[in-house]
Amino acid sequence: MESAQGRIKSSKRRTIVRSVLGLGLALACVSAVKREDFKTCSQSGFCARNRAYADIAKETPQWVSPFQLNPSSLRLHKGVLTGDLINVQEDKQPSDKPALAFELHLLDTDAARVRINERNPIHPRYDGVQDTVLIKPYGHATEESYQKLGKDENGILTIQYGAQSQNTVRISSAPFKIEFLVNGVPTVILNDEGLLRFERLRNKEEPKVEEEEGEKQGEEASSDPLVEQKPGGNEIEIAIEKSDLEKKLEENLWEERFKEFTDSKPRGPESFGMDITFSGINHVYGIPEHASSLSLKATRGPDAPYTEPYRLYNLDVFEYEGDNPMALYGSVPFMLGHSKNSTAAVFWMNAAETWIDVEKSPEDKTGGLLSWIKSKKAVQPAATKTHWISEAGVLDLFVFLGPTHRDIFRQYASLVGTTALPQAFSIAYHQCRWNYNNQQDVAEVDAGFDEHDIPYDVLWLDIEHTNGKRYFTWDEAKFPNPTEMQESLSAKGRKMVTIIDPHIKKDGDYHVSKEGAELDVYIKNKDGSSDFDGWCWPGSSQWIDFYNPKARDWWASQFSYDKYIGSTKSLFTWNDMNEPSVFSGPEITIPKDVIHYGNVEHRNVHNLYGTMFHSATAQGLTHRNETNQRPFVLSRAFFAGTQRFGAIWTGDNVASWEHLELASPMLLTIGLSGIPFSGADVGGFFGNPDAELLTRWYQAGIYYPFFRAHAHLDSKRREPWLFGEPYTTQIREAIRTRYTLLPFWYTLFQEASVEGTPIIRPMFTVFPEDEAVFGMDDQYMVGDAILVKPVVKSAVIRSNVYFAGKEKWFDIKDYSVEQGPGFKDIESPADKIPVYQRAGTIVPKRERPRRSSKAMENDPFTLVIALDSVGEASGRLYLDDGESFNYEKGDFILTEFKVSKGVLSSRKVKSTTATSVESSFAEKAGGLRIERLVILGATVPLKKVTVGDRTLQASCSQVGGSYVCTIKEPQVTIGKDFDLSFA
């Protein structure tokens, strides 16, 4: 304890050097013009304070965290270790009550949870995020499943846990540090850098001068032997002078200004921060949403590409820029680290504004500073050090140690939930524009698709369809008969989506506004009693407080057919502007000091607001008139758990090649953070794509889990046929390809809904041992079977594709073969981008062109079987009615296909719940036949194909070094097991 204090003091001697550094840092933060509406870390009081603390720590040799666990307070009971956490700088007197409570929970899923909270705060810190984010109370590890290995000579407590006892957690008391080890290898380390900092709630009346004096007295009274031993002990005098950095620790504690806005912060400072080290790991991923690369870039340290930390604060950013860590519409404080040897992840469960610094350990090859570090620490393994800073709430962290990605996704999903199985139509193609002007326009666009023989499933209406931006209403001059309009779409198996935003026009004659006022469900001003109003599309508006249970239920009830006049069963919903976007607010959002239900200040829950809205809307669609139909709701804002309510998209992108390129890393990042149902607006929202960009965007967009074209009000029309040939044919071909692969996509969605897996996957999750792919985000996998490399530059007709692994890859169009591993230049002419099926996989398809996914319901299947080098392959097909919840009662078909030793076997996976639904879908669809088998990678032409006592013909042709064989009508169905042998 004492030595730690001494080291702090020594840090204070470095005043002069640091103030210069500090200035340099400030200069580096100067914003570009476009960014001026949004805060930098230095403009956000708590971020600046915590970052300054990190600066102090980093510039102080032998820095030691002032936090210590009281060893005698530690108790381990039923999987939970508790103890007192003391800040030796603040809790000076032995009589001081231990300020912080520490908890470590071992979970039955092998995950661990670390919580730090104030023990006796002057008012409770907000701890409600778990109530809305965690799906259910989780189970703790049973006492048999972990083992306390006792304390070693340094007072380090070691506990072994996990199903295979593969995990170890080592808890050091002084200084406080927690190491998580997998099979004995340190993987995730908390407070390794000693950046833990915890601002305790306080009363403003406390005169600041006195506080400083107290501190000074404390220091003077100290009889720290270390300080005494320092040469030139009179430096204590200098220490009293606070450095610029130390002054920063006390800036903007209370009222804080940004541009013309004031944040009243009545509770004062309550932020906290902590460092999390991914040991032995060079690449970390996650923490969406940022317009940046998949592998996160360093924000600190020499040569760091970014000077600002990654920020998580849901914001409506007009024409966002690529390659920077600014906050965007959604936030998921989930980070995954990966190396050849280990994979681990953390979930920082906090919905307040959060900033994350990333620092990479210097690589081995450099000299200078590195050699100094080496001499100091002897061995410097690769590591990524992250520093997490949140404005309010409690420190609540989950640590997932895998050991594989799939384990991590499952562990994380078991807490925050998996992707809801979507309506089948919603993974087909969506046509949107701000705006389709009237019913005639809708009819003409709909007819255009039929005329040009391009399939589509959903037509969208943006804000202009309403009566003056009053949601749940129609502009009656333009849409005199919305029901008829939806029915005519529905007759062709198509749906409609209308936009419903969370801002409610202040208008006593508008039923929603009026009812909301009567029920008293609007967000309140900081006084806690008057309704907040601000500006959005309809002008003066109010925002529904979705933290109020009454508000949620009332909101959900708005979607019943008799409330939402002109809505039908085939109408679904789009939730936009739910960050929330407030035109007149600070950073275009709602002030942090407004009040939610239960006297909760908005700053605690900001990043969750959009999700609360999203979930209430999904609830509304689910329960409208008891139709047993799954909801479909698209949201712009998101948080951990959003996947349970619907899809999201990457907001208002731009019709530029840069934004097309950005879409892949953004969607991969969002997907691995638990929200796989996401997409980017095809074509780009702002501006006008030329024919080439639009076509390339469709070719890429068909491999987004959520596939929608959208365009701004001021942009030119760009329905798929408007650019003429050859573009219409190229776009038609792309969209049809999406439709042929819908059975494969739907199966992936089902897997995601059970396992929590991403749907489009970064290369490193499929090839976790190939270091060449760890930073790769310009190509990716759909499931584990299909490799996609979008073309994201103009006039590019050759693409450099990386074929990972030692197996073959088959072009999905002409079945030409490539052999991994390595890069190869591949033709990517205007009508195709490189897309390959990986050897060893079976992909189910429906190849008949149809006008909508609904129209494909009774179509037979094709299986594309890509044999690996030992002649094996596997795949699966999931099918249900695509719209109801009957699958929960077991009414689905899940068939596993496997090829081994020249036999294709099909086995229906029994559902765990018995079917109790009348006119069972599974029974009917079980008769759907497989009309065609395409076998790729056969070393010799197939001669004899038999199913039971029937002999079938295979027609084979040589492509590259192997054969492509097609078997017509094997007369098998997806509902009955079969074995088909070929030789």
């Binding site: 029309r717 129209a855 319901e857 669809a925 009508e969």
Partner: protein, 554 residues
Amino acid sequence: MKTHSVCLPILATLALSAAVTRANVNINNAARGVSPSNAKLYVPDSVNNWSCLDGSKTIPFSAVNDDYCDCIDGSDEPGTSACGTGQFYCANIGHTPSNIKTSRVNDGVCDEECCDGSDEYDGQTHCPNVCEEVGAKAREENDRIQSIQNEGARLRRGFIKHGKANKVSLTNELETLRDQVDQVQLALNDARAKLDAANEEQGAYLEGSKSEREATRRQQLEPLIQEQTKRLKYAIEVRDMLKITLQNLKEKHNKNFHDMAVKGTVSGFDDYIVAQGEKTEVVEDDLASLASDRQFDALVDETSVVLRDIGTLHDLLDGMKRDYNTEYNDEAVLAAVKVTDDFEITWDSSKLDFADVEHLVLPEELPVDSPEAEKFRDATDLAQAAFNEASDKENKIQEGIRDIERKLNMDFGPDETFSQLVDKCFDFKDTEYTYSVCLFGDANQSSHSSTHLGKFSGWEGDNYDVQMYTGGTKCWNGPERSVKLVMSCGTTTEIVSVTEPEKCEYLFKLQTPAVCPIPEGEGEADEQEQDQERQQDQQQEEEGEEHTRKHDEL
């Protein structure tokens, strides 16, 4: 499970599902979806095989319509969706037969084009045969359209006749006018020579007293020049004040409010600045060196330029002042509105309100009074009058020629149909605006003020039924407005709808006899028989024309 047992249960299941149709298809179903005219293509060869229509492959005849796509061209599956690329023939007895895409066969949708429901035969979706009903309606509709087309064709023949006749008469007229050109030009040249001579003589006489006259003249004009200089300076000050106001507005307004009125003004200001960059400001010192008359004229010109600028800038501000969203309380906008208010008050009350105060007019130079001078002056006046008269005559003829040439150069279609419609104007009112177009002229949109949507720029395509009007007023952040005018057959000429499919690009739908199809074979041959009828039409058309001529007054 043993593999051989698979077959039967499957067939049993098939009976329950879509796949059942497959089993049935082979039985005499080769002809399904094949039109009678194509039936001869779907017969087996001598060994009961069949070749894909593109000749690419030979398959057993039993593979035709077996619900599996064998042929690359899709020709083996005219009756199923297996290939999805061919045509499925619906007999539609009671209505007219049609071909639908085979991708629509058994897709669960009762296609309107296939009223007999024969496209949905798999038992999943029942599509009733509604051909009788649909057919009856269609026949009724057909009759209606036919009668419109007949009447339209009759009217169009009138248009054509009128157009052709008009072309002939214009050509004749042009010839007559051209014949006169030489003559009037000779007369004009003669008059010009005489005028030049008179001027020269007078000039020579006056040259002698030039500097004295300039001195006298300057004395006479000096107060006016000073007054005008003052006015110009004041105007420049006011204009610069408005520019600064707009510049501030542009830089400081809150872009997140998306206030269209503010955006419009800022974008208008940007356009102004761009246009301004091309002009050069007149420097006062340069003016001082000019002769007093020219100096005064230059000052007046420059003042009017600045006044126009003030007008433009004020319009921008005033436009915003009227429409901006008062509830945003955007400080930059409020400041600009305040300046606009102040400007309007001071500008109105100012003595220098150029709009109300009379323009300074250059007084006549005092005549030089001597009999000799008078003689020269009279001679010049006379020569001037003669020249003016000759010039007027020449202009009129040239103008007549140009007008005829314009009309002759216009593309009224191969048969001159549209000659009848040139410069005819039509209105269309919707809830917000009145749209108008004068064919081959301009299109406009008006409510309280008028916006130019474009000027006729040509036909689109080769069918003479789509016109483009381009180069209209620029949208604040979009393109120049334009109109696509699409014509359809009708017995009257009128606009039937106006829409704005994308911002500032309008679609006018116009019905007119001018595009009604004239049945083949009815052309020149029966012109005689219908001559009388046409004369009547001609009369009607002329009445119609009068009606449209009155358009401006309406």
